[in-house]
């Protein structure tokens, strides 16, 4: 399987609508982070496996620094919030405060099946997903997502790798 082409970002054509303007702006912001991105992590109720894979991004096998990514505990220094867990209601206000403490421009990446709406359904304990409580820019599936999947997700977030999700059909027997 191909590890995903590192497409050069398409040059910006002059936007002709509000939606296109927003998209161009989003890509410009994402590209601004392309060379140096500081990541803050946020656990909204995970089982701790996602955190272990995230920690391994800094380990020798994966070494996120070689790609210009860095972890930071300081919200003021952070560009991207990497969120795990199903957004427990008891935690939601802490999550929002963490997001608000980060200066704009900023990105939010939801990682793991719990954060994407799987595993836990919305109920009295949790919202079931990060959506609705934080504005998510990139979704990374997995249980837990491996460090490779996390790296691909971060590269997609800063527009340095092409997204493949739209093209995947999950059909076997010839179709793509």
């Amino acid at each position: 399987m191909n590890p995903g082409a590192m497409d050069a970002a398409a040059p910006d054509a002059a936007p002709s609508s509000i939606e296109e303007t927003a998209d161009v702006l989003r890509r410009r912001v994402a590209r601004q982070f392309g060379r140096s991105l500081h990541i803050r992590t946020l656990d909204t109720g995970s089982c701790a496996a996602c955190e272990q894979e995230i920690r391994l991004l800094a380990a020798p096998h994966y070494d996120l620094h070689r790609l210009g990514f860095f972890f930071t505990p300081a919200p003021r220094h952070a560009d991207l919030l990497l969120v795990t867990g199903p957004m427990l209601r008891a935690f939601a206000s802490a999550a929002r405060k963490t997001y608000e403490a980060m200066p704009s421009p900023k990105l939010v990446v939801a990682t793991g099946a719990c954060a994407l709406g799987g595993v836990y359904q919305p109920d009295e304990f949790s919202y079931g997903s990060v959506a609705g409580q934080l504005p998510v820019d990139v979704w990374i599936p997995g249980c837990p997502p491996s460090p490779l999947a996390l790296l691909q997700g971060l590269m997609v977030a800063v527009d340095r790798m092409a997204e493949r999700a739209w093209h995947l059909t999950f059909l076997s027997g010839g179709a793509q």
């Binding site: 399987m1 096998h61 995947l168 059909l171």
Partner: protein, 110 residues
């Protein structure tokens, strides 16, 4: 201290070249399933909806809606219907739009 440097130099680089080159780990990872539409009857589709503990399946008429975002790659769907469900081998699943992860799988004409 010197023992650490010697040890490290002797071992050499272990860092993956991903994304520039493939990483052998990818072949070991469980990933979301792939479906064979010609083996997906309504009954099988309903079984999959019922068996998935993460509610990644919904049947809508003649389509099975599969949410790869909710999928945990637990393999229960593959165990239930191995003729219809195989491994996709995909792990590069990141999406900027949540809807990109929700797929409509056509069921077999019956």
């Amino acid at each position: 201290m010197p023992q650490w440097f010697v040890r490290g130099l002797r071992r050499g680089l272990v860092t993956t070249r991903y994304p520039a080159r493939p990483d052998p780990l990818a072949a070991l990872l469980p990933g979301p399933p792939s479906f064979r539409p010609d083996a997906l009857t309504r009954q099988v589709a309903d079984d999959l909806v019922q068996i998935c503990p993460s509610r990644a399946f919904v049947r809508a008429g003649d389509e099975l809606i599969f949410d790869a975002g909710a999928c945990t790659a637990c393999g229960r769907c593959r165990e239930r219907a191995p003729e219809a469900v195989t491994l996709s081998g995909e792990f590069e699943l990141a999406a900027t739009d949540r809807a990109a992860l929700v797929k409509r799988i056509p069921l077999r004409d019956e």
